[in-house]
């Protein structure tokens, strides 16, 4: 049976046009002149409304036993058919207009081989029904079980992460941009006015400028908490029908289902500030999930113990403590951190630019503790079912991968690594970034780690144990 989207869909679709219409009408009245440009805008908006109604009339979806079909017949016909066994996730989200009208957007993700589809606006009830129908394969619907839920205290962690701190600037930027565009469309902005504004700003007393800067500095953490709250309000992770479902958001409530059988592992990321506060972010490694950085998020910022216990409940215990890498790796980390500024400094001296050289020299000195910390954070570990590797300093990441998810091994040794007896081991995984590396392990450890996890793959290629004493060679290697 062909089903249309909810009749109110075109209202949601047109809300943006309606808002723009009202704004344009108000400004038109304020300015006083109903210019031709304004009439054109209104005609455009009316056409937009008609377009929304027409696309609602011509879009239908059909739920078959083995697939869901989305038919569009507005300009040319198209039928998109998504096989149900390819569906990897069904997200339900709702923007403010959707919520006011009791509607929701259903986003169907079927990975690289199935494509994706979106049902913009069905009733909440229908959205839940669709999700249940599309994700439940055979069994009935077991009750949902909450795995983790955000505590109010955690909202204060927002300023620790850099991204949310910058939100005031992003908001101010987009606001200014909107005002400028609107003003420009209505002919309010002239070269003269912009120049005058520039003069006014330059002419401000320095006390006022200082106050403004202070205000921004105070606003940054506050705004970051607000933005964080908007995106991550009541972040809840629960388990249902063999999926892990993460729900979040205040204005736009978003829910992402991650299928358990596509889950390959998790990653724990943090930066130095978060490390000091004992806070970490948890993400999922899922095969074939687009925009995984946002949609695979399992906890936005949470105490490490909570994140680890959730990781344990999702993929199993996080192996630990991790094994540190040999001391030879330390000099390599430091050299790699300091090399770019040193190189630029040398070039600057050659080119006769002493200031650039000084700045780069300072950066090179600062790079030393960074390199040392990068070395401290290097680590790897494994247990009976999972491999874990950790690296990075300013953005430290610990990845936990199930052994079964590994589809290959790559061992790389550069000329420098060969001299130091080091090797970098990459575990190839068909999820996330495709491969996770454990940099600068001792050469034997790299092979031993791979051999311990997948003995059958490596066994045919391991050197036969030499009959005469290998210890002498080992001794030589260590010196």
């Amino acid at each position: 049976m062909n089903v249309r989207l909810h009749p109110l869909t075109f209202v949601v679709g047109a809300v943006r046009e309606l808002i723009a219409l009202l704004a344009a009408g108000a400004t038109g009245l304020l300015v006083g002149g109903m210019s031709t440009a304004f009439y054109f805008t209104i005609v455009g908006l009316t056409l937009g409304l008609f377009f929304h109604v027409a696309s609602w009339l011509t879009f239908t979806y059909v739920l078959h036993d083995d697939r869901i079909e989305l038919r569009r017949a507005l300009i040319g016909r198209s039928v998109k058919s998504i096989p149900r066994d390819r569906i990897r996730g069904v997200d339900i989200s709702a923007s403010l207009p959707h919520r006011l009208l009791g509607l929701a957007i259903v986003h169907i993700d079927a990975g690289a081989d199935g494509g994706e589809g979106e049902l913009n606006a069905v009733s909440r009830h229908e959205a839940e029904r669709l999700r249940r129908a599309l994700l439940a394969r055979d069994a009935g619907t077991p009750p949902r079980r909450v795995l983790a839920r955000m505590r109010p205290r955690w909202y204060v962690y927002a300023p620790l992460s850099g991204a949310y701190l910058l939100t005031p600037f992003a908001v101010a930027g987009s606001l200014l941009g909107t005002v400028y565009n609107l003003g420009d469309d209505l002919g309010l902005i002239t070269r003269e006015r912009v120049a005058n504004l520039g003069h006014d700003v330059v002419g401000l007393p320095s006390a006022l400028v200082l106050a403004l800067v202070l205000l921004v500095l105070i606003a940054m953490p506050v705004m970051s908490v607000i933005a964080f709250t908007l995106f991550n309000w009541d972040f809840t992770v629960h388990e249902r029908d063999g999926s892990v479902v993460a729900e979040r958001g205040l204005v736009t409530r978003r829910s992402v289902s991650l299928e358990r059988r596509r889950l390959r592992g998790v990653e724990l990321t943090d930066n130095p500030f978060e490390r000091m506060a004992g806070v970490t972010r948890l993400g999922a490694l899922i095969t074939g999930l687009g925009d995984a950085a946002h949609r695979g998020r399992l906890l936005p910022a949470a105490p490490r113990t909570v994140a680890e216990s959730l990781a344990t409940r999702i993929v199993g215990a996080v192996p630990g403590p991790l094994v540190a890498h040999p001391p030879a790796a330390r000099s390599r980390r430091v050299a790699r951190a300091a090399a770019p500024p040193v190189g630029i400094a040398v070039l600057a001296v050659l080119a006769g630019q002493p200031w650039v050289a000084y700045v780069c020299a300072v950066l090179a000195v600062l790079a030393v503790p960074l390199g040392l910390d990068r070395y401290r954070q290097l680590g790897h570990g494994t247990d009976s079912g999972r491999l874990s590797v950790r690296s990075g300093s300013l953005r430290r990441r610990q990845v936990v991968i199930e052994h079964g998810a590994i589809v290959g091994w790559r061992i790389r040794r550069t000329l420098f690594q060969r001299r130091l007896g080091l090797a970098t081991l990459f575990a190839a995984v068909g999820a996330g970034e495709g491969g996770y590396s454990s940099a600068d392990m001792a050469e034997e450890d790299a092979v031993a780690l791979a051999a311990a996890i997948t003995p059958a793959w490596l066994a045919p290629f391991l050197e036969a144990p030499p009959a005469d004493a290998p210890p002498s060679r080992d001794g030589a290697r260590r010196t």
Partner: protein, 183 residues
């Protein structure tokens, strides 16, 4: 780790990978040499052009210490190119090796930096055999073994055509039989 060590010898010696068994065709050296020659020849031509142009134009944006020495550029590029064309192909030939065991494709590639790659046949998604125009001239072919991950995808170039086609067919066949759902 302990388990792995004991399984293959009983002693506490660290496990080490042995090199894969098979070398590439000797004609692979010629293939790489031609490739490098074309690439570095192009770079050399560009360098000559730049040097001539900079010598004529007396470009002001160039810092003083550099402007007198632009003439060196073609020589530097030429020397580096000569080194690459003569040394790298032979070096590569000595490093590149491959082997297919019962269920793993094992390769070693590189020259300056070396990479050992192990891809189990059960995780292979596609196997492609392909030939560029230089390879066609020399009767060589490249095999591409793709898994769900780019890191775990391997490429063996410089195989004789007959070997490559047989290997590709064989691998595709076995991958189909052994394939498990894990991606």
């Amino acid at each position: 780790m302990r388990r792995g060590r004991q399984k293959d010898g009983g002693g506490p010696h660290p496990p080490r990978l042995r090199p894969p068994a098979h070398r590439l065709s000797r004609r692979a050296i010629a293939h790489w040499a031609i490739e490098y020659l074309l690439l570095w020849g192009l770079a050399f031509g560009l360098a000559l052009g730049v040097a001539a142009w900079a010598g004529d134009a007396h470009w002001d944006a160039l810092p003083g210490w550099l402007s007198g020495r632009v003439g060196w550029l073609p020589y530097i590029i030429g020397a580096a190119g000569l080194l690459m064309v003569t040394v790298a192909p032979v070096w590569r030939y000595r490093v590149h090796r491959w082997e297919v065991s019962a269920d793993v494709v094992y390769t070693r590639t590189g020259w300056f930096s070396r990479e050992w790659l192990l891809v189990p046949v059960g995780r292979i998604q596609t196997v492609d055999a392909k030939q560029g125009w230089i390879e066609r001239m020399l009767g060589l072919a490249t095999i591409e073994v793709n898994t769900a991950s780019h890191t775990g995808s391997s490429e063996v170039s410089g195989l004789p055509v007959g070997v490559a086609t047989r290997l590709a067919e064989d691998l595709a066949h076995r991958a189909h039989d052994l394939r498990d759902d894990a991606t």
